[in-house]
Each structure stands twice: as C-alpha cells, then as structure tokens.
Amino acid sequence: MARSALRRLMAEYKQLTLNPPEGIIAGPVCEENFFEWEALIMGPEGTCFEGGVFPAKLIFPPDYPLSPPKMQFTCEMFHPNIYPDGRVCISILHAPGEDPMGYESSAERWSPVQSVEKILLSVISMLAEPNDESGANVDAAKMWREDREQFNKITDRLVRKSLGLAPA
C-alpha cells in the first residue's frame, strides 16, 4: 500500500519540480523519507498576507492517496481556518466521515483525485478568503468579522516576521 503511496509521491514531486505553480515550493524534507514534505507558501497578492512566505510541513499517511495528508504551518499564523498550533483546517484535507466543524458536504472532502498541488492552491485561496464559519481559530474569525483593521495589523506583523524583518 505504502509502496504505491511512495510512487505517487515521487510522481507528484517530479510534477511539482517540473512545473511549479506560482507561489508554491514543496518537496520532501529529505530524499530518504518521502512521507514528510516541507512547503513554502507565498501570501497571495492583494490580501493582508501579501508578501509573506510561510513555511509548512505536510505529513503523508502510509495509505496516501487514499487518506489525506496533514498540513501544519511551522510559523506563527493568525487566520480563522488555521489552528493556533498551525494545523490547517480545510475541507479537502478531511477524509469523508470526519468533519471537525460539522459543516462540510462530502463533495468537498478528500479524494484520491486531490494532490499536493491542489492542497497548496486551496491553502492559498484560503489565505485570500478566510471562511469565518469554520472557526479553527475563533479569535481570528471574530476579529476578521468585526475588527478587520486589527486583523490586518496582526497579519502584517506575521508577514514581516516570516521574512525575517523587524516589526514596523
């Protein structure tokens, strides 16, 4: 099972290296273990995350692609759909049957058709348009709804931090 997972991950890695999508860099942490990936995600333009480069790690299960990988930002993030510990809460990362927030239809869940590239692109679009109905980070969701200015201030600090700049 994991044998085919390895082959598929290798194929995806090759695909990502040959035609990298814009704003995404991803690959295994080391060539020995293809089940742990590191990804760098650029904050989408025109959003409060613009300019930031956010590192994340992806952990693949042995039965990938039948089960979804787990994704966790390794930097500090403040976003309605990212848990305070960095775990990402998007529906395509949830296997059908598990629904932590109780709002997703099974049509938007994980299926083997998804790929690392699609996950990362979804994460970028999630950064651009937070879904404040699923409160992985309730504080962030509340602030996003009610006090956008404050939210932008925090994300601005995070963007600077991710670039290694001193806070403005």
């Binding site: 994991a2 085919s4 390895l6 598929r8 273990n33 293809f34 692609p65 039948l66 296997a95 058709v113």
Partner: protein, 641 residues
C-alpha cells in the same frame, strides 16, 4: 550531552561510594556489606545500574537501528509513557513480590517492548523508503530473530516456574512475553511480505489482502491471550488494571481488522462482478493515467471502468472501495447504480451470438389505431392494453438467464395466446355483421405467441460464471441457488395462472361458438372453406394454419367464412347480429375483461417480483428460444384463427 553528563556523574558517584567503602573497611566482603547496609550507597548503586541499562539499550539500538528517525523517537516516547504507568499499576498488584529482581525483570520487559515497537516502525518504514540497503535487511532479520528467541525463552521460563512453583508474578511476564511473541511473528510476516514486494518490479496487488488477514489472525490471537490472562488473573490475584488498556486496544484493532477484511472482500467482489474491464478504446478516449496512483494504465485487464465512465487501476480502485464506495473523480455512489446495467455491459462481450440476439429488443408490435373499431372502447381495452407490456416481457426475460428463467417466457407469451384466441373467437362472431371489421386488420394484432419454451434438462443454458455461482458453500453461492429456486417458483405460479385462464377461455368459447354455429349452419353450407378469395388479406394468413388445429380453430372456422360467401342469409345474419350472438359476444367480452383484468395484474405482479429479484439479471438465453420466438408469428396465427 546531558546523557553523557548524567552517565559521567553516576560513574563518579559509584566510584566515590565504592572507594569510600573500601577505604573504610579495607577488605572486599565488609565493604560490600557496608554498601548494602547503607541506603544512600544503595541508591547510588541503583542509579548506576539504571544508567548501565540505558547504555546497554543505546548500544543495542545503535547496533540494530542506527540513528532513530524523529517519528520513531516520538512513537517510542509516547508508548514508553503508557508502558511505564502500566508497569507502576502492575507493581501495585504485586506489591508483595516487590524486590529489586522484580524491578529488574520489569525493566527488561520494558526494554524489550521498546525494541518490538521500534522493529515494527522500521518494518513499516520499509514501504516508505525508496531505497532499502542490505544493512537494513541484516539488522531487521537479526533483531527479529533475537527478539523472537528472547521472547520464547522468557515464555518458557515463566511457564516452567508457574508449573513448578505455582502461580506468581511470573504469570504476568509469561503473558506479556507471549503477546510480544505474537508481535514478533506479526512483524516477521510483514517483513517477508514487504521483502517479496520489494523484489518484484510491479506492485504486488495481493499484498494488502495478505496483510489484512495477518492482522486479523494476529489480532484474534492477541485478544484470546488477553482474555485468558484476565480470567486467570481475576481467579488467582485480583483484577489486572494494568492490562485493560492494551486489551481494549487489541480488541479495537481486531474489530478494525475484521471490518477491513469484510470491506475488502466486498470491494473485491464488486470489482470482479460489477464493473467491466476497460478496453483499449476506453483508455484511448481518455487520459490513460490512473488518477489514484498517477501511473499509466494499460488495456490488459488491469483497469476497470465504473458506470460513470471513469477508469482506474483495478488494484487502486479496490483499495479505495475498501474505504468508500464512491467514484474518486465524480463521487458517484457506485452501489446505488442499478447493478443490471453494468452487469449487462460486462457480460455482453462474453456472450455467444445467440444470446446477443436474444438480448436485443424484440420488434414492437405495430398497433394500428382503429378509430372505427366496432367494439368501441369496451372491446379493445382489455385486449390492447396488455400488449405492449407483454411484448416487453420477452425482452426483459432475454436479459434473465438460467434455463429455468428462460422458460418464464411461457406465462407472458402464453397469455398473449389466450387473449388473441378469444379475440379471434369474438371476431368470428362479429364478422356476421356486414360492416364488421376489415379482416386485414387482424395480422398486426395477432402477435407471435410462441409455445412455451421447455426448460433445458442440462445446464447448457448457464454460463460457466453462473454455474460457478451455484456451486460451493459460500454465502453467495447459497444465495444464488435460492434465487434460482425462487425463479422456478415464480414460473410455476405463472403457469398455474395461465392454466386457469386457458380453462376459463375455453369454456366460454365453447358456449359462444355453440350458439354461433347453430345459428349459421343452415345458412352457409360452404362454411368450412376458409380459403375463399373474398377474404382479402385474411385468407393468406389463415390458409396455412390447418397444420395445428385447436379447439377455437375448429369452432370458429364456420363463422369466419361468413362474409366471403356471397349468398349470406340475411335473416340468419340479422338474427346473429341482434340476437344471441351479440349477447354472447358481450358475455364473452365480460368474461374476457374479467380474465384480462386479472391477467395484467398477474403479470404486473410477476414482473415486479422478477425485477426485484433480478436486480442483476443474467444475460443468457439458449439459442433454441431465439428460434422459438422467431417462429412464433406463424404459430400464433394458427391458434388465433
């Protein structure tokens, strides 16, 4: 670094304690006594022993594993905590036996457990790493052999002690090591499977199945061991609190393994029966990359096509269906699709030409719309309505397969016969009227009621697949047999119904024709000459039928010839028209209505039941039936006229 400092510190302390003792007592024996008597010294010695054990562990780890990966370390620490707390719980049960030796034994157990976990992780890692070195194999094989040997040693030791000295704390060790032994065996099997998989170039499809069964059997053994242990412990000592968590976990694992096996079996069965293999054209028409594994598919039967036309590798699809019964691409629920369409797709290519021909829809009867039909709405109703239905039935039966099923053509077609023959009888009566139905209207109406095909005595009507389905002791085989028997029952019911209709019709015909004949015999001596020219088209049909005379045939013949004879006795005709015949025909209509209204119900019932039963119709009918149905039209005319 910290470990180094700790080790160094404990070494220094030990040296200090020993040196101090020796310095004070000057001799070996008194100094040993001094150290054992002094609690602080003993604490230092225990600490040293602990450090030694840790070092031993590290060396063994280096030897067998090299550097541990982060995930392995994480697992190890997580599991160690549970193991330590459980050991502490075990201490409370055996506080009477508490001694340094006891602690040492538990420590050894803990270490061995750690190595088992690590070995398990390592073997799992085999699947994930692109390159496995020879060193890896040597290490794993060496470690597994060593662990297996140690486990066996401890188990037999515990067994021996328990037998000779009665139950003691050794009981616990015995069970713990027995369970570790099952773990080793499990890892060993996995390792062998993985190694075989590694050797082969192509992915080994059945490996997952073997792994599942290994998991199931090992899980079962574990649960049995734990249950035995529980019972014995409760009888001898007390409730073993420390064994609850692992027991619960192993039970859950067993349940999961059991579920997995069931799901996997179901998935495999569905794969084999429901979905057709993708052909080369199918693959050529789409992107031939399997979306699950992102590898190319070749049209050699290794890929399957779902009802939604998405194509995947058989093995990929199977492992996905173990989790979810939806199409990975469009999420269509594959179990909700009526199975017969897909089964039909699959079987059609393999069917012999005769069967193919059978499966084709029969030409629908052309039902002319007669506005001037003399009987008006009441007459045609009962006769015409059932027709399309009855015509559909053979088609549907063409889809159903076994010899027993194919003979089910009998009820439907047979009833067509009854309908049309009574109709014929009535027309015969009606023809006495000068303005009656044009005879050429008959042909399209009298449709092929073929004689009931006889069930085949042997199994030639069954394909190999179906015969296989009937054999064996598996549940599905038994179900297939029951299905077959149910079909036969349905057919018998239908046949009984049909016989009743026959008898009803025949008796009514006798009555009606008797009157007709009496009223017409005198008027037309040339009655029996059926083939008189003036019958326009009808004689053409009628002429050949003498080969198979039926009761209705004989009785109707005289009246049928009425219109053609030039010198019709007007009075007799009038009498027939106004008098008894009309009444009689009305009577007949009533009866026919009654029987036909009963009949569609019967058919509906049979149809419905059959549809329910054959949600997966089998696609074969013997070639004989084809011929039967093809020659049906002529025979139908015989009977009807």
């Amino acid at each position: 670094m910290r470990g180094m400092l700790l080790t160094l510190g404990s070494m220094l302390l030990t040296v200090a304690v020993v040196g101090n003792a020796y310095y004070q007592k000057k001799q070996f024996y008194p100094s040993v006594v001094y150290i054992t008597k002094s609690n602080p010294s003993m604490a230092v010695i225990y600490l040293q022993a602990f450090v030694m054990v840790l070092m031993m562990g590290k060396i063994t780890r280096k030897l067998f594993f090299g550097q541990l990966r982060a995930a392995e370390m994480e697992h190890l620490i997580e599991r160690s905590w549970y193991a330590v707390t459980e050991t502490c719980l075990a201490f409370t049960v055996f506080r009477d036996d508490f001694s340094p030796k006891f602690v040492a034994l538990f420590t050894v157990l803990l270490f061995l457990k750690c190595f088992h976990w690590l070995a398990e992780d390592r073997v799992d890692y085999m699947e994930r790493s692109p390159n496995i070195s020879l060193l890896f194999h040597i290490r794993v094989v060496g470690l597994l052999t060593l662990l297996g040997f140690l486990d066996y040693l401890f188990v037999s030791h515990a067994y021996y002690i328990t037998l000779t000295k009665g139950p003691s704390v050794q009981l616990v060790f015995g069970f713990e090591y027995a369970i570790l032994l099952t773990v080793v065996v499990n890892i060993m099997i996995k390792y062998v499977l993985h190694t075989v998989d590694l050797q082969s170039e192509n992915p080994w499809e059945n490996k997952a199945v073997y792994l599942l069964y290994t998991e199931l059997i090992m899980g079962f053994i574990k649960v049995v061991l734990y249950l035995t242990f529980m019972t014995i412990m409760i009888k001898i000592h007390t409730f073993p609190l420390f064994a609850i968590r692992p027991m619960y976990l192993s039970m859950r694992a067993l349940k999961k393994a059991f579920n997995d096996v069931i799901m996997s079996r179901r998935a495999i069965r569905n794969m084999n029966t429901l979905y057709p293999d993708a052909t080369a054209e199918d693959l050529a028409s789409v992107d031939n990359v399997c979306i699950i594994c992102r590898e190319e598919m070749l049209g050699n039967g290794s890929s399957k096509k779902l009802p939604c036309n998405h194509i995947f590798h058989t093995s990929c699809l199977r492992s996905w269906f173990q989790r979810q019964q939806t199409c990975p691409t469009c999420r269509m629920d594959v179990l909700r699709i009526p199975a017969n369409s897909s089964a039909g797709q699959q079987r059609a290519p393999g069917a012999v030409p005769g069967q193919q021909q059978q499966a084709q829809p029969q030409p629908q009867p052309q039902i002319p719309n007669w506005p001037g039909f003399p009987l008006g709405g009441g007459g045609p109703g009962p006769f015409w309505v059932p027709l399309p239905q009855q015509q559909q039935q053979p088609q549907q039966q063409a889809g159903t397969g076994t010899s027993a099923q194919s003979s089910s053509a009998a009820p439907s077609l047979g009833s067509t016969t009854t309908t049309s023959s009574t109709a014929g009888g009535m027309y015969a009566n009606q023809t006495n009227q000068p303005f009656s139905i044009p005879p050429f209207a008959f042909p399209p109406f009298f449709l092929p009621p073929p004689p009931p095909p006889l069930p085949q005595a042997d199994f030639s009507g069954l394909t190999n697949e179906e015969l296989e389905a009937l054999e064996g002791e598996e549940r599905e085989n038994v179900e297939a047999r029951i299905r077959c028997l149910r079909n036969i029952q349905t057919l018998l019911d239908a046949a009984a119904l049909q016989m009743q209709q026959y008898s009803a019709v025949v008796s009514s015909l006798r009555r009606s024709t008797r009157t007709t004949v009496t009223s017409t015999t005198g008027t037309d001596p040339s009655g029996p000459s059926v083939s008189a020219p003036s019958t326009s088209k009808a004689p053409h049909e009628v002429s050949g039928e003498a080969a198979k005379p039926s009761t209705s045939n004989q009785f109707q013949a005289p009246s049928f010839s009425k219109p053609e004879s030039g010198d019709i006795n007007q009075e007799a005709t009038e009498a027939v028209k106004n008098g008894t015949v009309i009444d009689d025909s009305k009577d007949l209509v009533h009866q026919e209505e009654a029987s036909s209204s009963k009949e569609p119900n019967g058919h509906e019932e049979i149809r419905r039941r059959r549809l329910e039963k054959f949600s997966k119709p089998l696609e074969n009918c013997g070639p004989q039936e084809t011929s039967n149905e093809n020659c049906g039209p002529q025979e139908g005319n015989h009977e009807t006229n």
